[in-house]
């Protein structure tokens, strides 16, 4: 079993094969992964919110917001040995709406996160090769940096690879 490195809310981590990056209990957050298929280096940003605009730049944690976390993830991964921008691809997981809306409460942070993350990836030019977003269920993932596959678990369902 390789080393498993957990990535918490608002955190960003980069690792390489044979390590595994893991995130447990993903709700409205969106997990963005970048993976270099040649050097087998990968990174994860655990995005909580869609947009950092209007928030004091001195006080924010850039890893929390879709618009700032993806550039930060690229900055963290680009200096690793053997990483080239042209080899990087992205996968995204999460963005669910855990609590079904009631007549006086609606929460769409999950959906907004997924939209914002896709926009930020497009802006940076990273191809999005797999996604599992939306719905009402929590998710956990283990990102195996040897195979580049993301093992997705949802309660009551068979795990599957992205």
């Amino acid at each position: 079993m390789s080393v498993v490195i957990p990535v918490g809310m608002g955190e960003l981590k980069v690792a390489r094969s044979p390590e595994t990056l893991a995130v447990y209990g993903i709700g409205s957050c969106v997990i963005v992964s970048l993976y270099d298929t040649k050097s087998k280096v990968g990174g994860i940003a655990h995005v909580m919110l869609p947009d950092s605009s209007g928030i004091d730049k001195e006080r924010i944690n850039p890893n929390k917001f879709a618009d700032t976390a993806i550039p930060a993830l690229y900055d963290a991964i680009k200096n690793e040995d053997g990483v080239f921008k042209a080899n990087l691809h992205a996968k995204i997981v999460g963005g669910s709406e855990m609590f079904p809306p009631t007549e006086d409460y609606e929460n769409n942070i999950g959906r907004d996160n997924a939209i914002a993350v896709k926009k930020a990836l497009k802006k940076m030019g990273f191809p999005l090769v797999a996604e599992d977003v939306g719905g009402k269920r929590g998710r956990s993932i283990e990102f195996d940096l040897d195979s580049g596959l993301i093992r997705l678990s949802i309660l009551g369902e068979e795990p599957r690879d992205l």
Partner: protein, 205 residues
């Protein structure tokens, strides 16, 4: 009060007392509903890093029942009940005669509606006590319920409160019904903009 980390010890003690009064009332409502004696753990009011919250329940991947309500009124906030899997099964079996549920993922409509009602009763009782204390009406929204991973629920509830700070103020308490070991965790998260109003109402500005 934009910065919750500047709360004084006296203010935190007062917020803990808010939790005490609210959950005391909620515990008696639950005791009446179940026709049992319910003990209450000492409440805590704490400023926590959001990423540490799921550990209270046994880690972000822990299976748990979550009932979520918005607190509406001059003092607004969020009210989250997290009920461990074994307690949710015991509650359903106590409340619904003949209920044989084994996996809360497969709850029937009757069972879901029963758990939402538990949420409604607990939140209503908690907020009633708080309204009386703060002399301002506080109502709860309709409950929304799910059974899933603890971390997934918590990130969905706290996400937009954490734009600036990595910390949230949480008043937490749990009930224990000693014979059956029923545990219910109640979390009250005042909206940051409501916190100064709440502190003013309870006289600890």
């Amino acid at each position: 009060m934009d910065d919750i980390t500047s709360l004084t010890k006296i203010q935190l003690d007062a917020l803990r007392e808010v939790g005490n009064i609210g959950s005391g009332n909620a515990a008696s409502a639950l005791a009446q509903f179940l026709n049992r004696k319910i003990d209450m753990a000492v409440p805590s009011a704490a400023i926590l890093e959001f990423k540490d919250i799921p550990d209270i329940l046994g880690g972000p991947g822990t299976r748990v029942m979550g009932i979520f309500l918005k607190v509406l009124g001059e003092i607004s906030g969020r009210f989250l009940l997290l009920i461990p899997e074994d307690t949710s099964i015991k509650l359903l079996k106590t409340l619904i005669p003949g209920c044989e549920i084994e996996d809360p993922l497969k709850m029937s409509e009757l069972e879901s509606s029963c758990m939402r009602e538990v949420g409604n009763i607990l939140a209503g009782a908690f907020l009633n006590a708080l309204s009386a204390l703060a002399q301002t009406p506080m109502l709860n929204s309709l409950p929304s319920m799910t059974f899933d991973m603890a971390g997934a629920m918590i990130d969905s509830v706290v996400a937009d409160m954490t734009a600036v700070s990595d910390k949230v103020l949480m008043i937490e308490t749990s009930f224990i019904e000693s014979e059956e070991d029923l545990r219910i965790h109640i979390f009250l998260l005042p909206e940051p903009k409501s916190l100064s109003i709440l502190l003013q109402k309870i006289g600890v500005v």
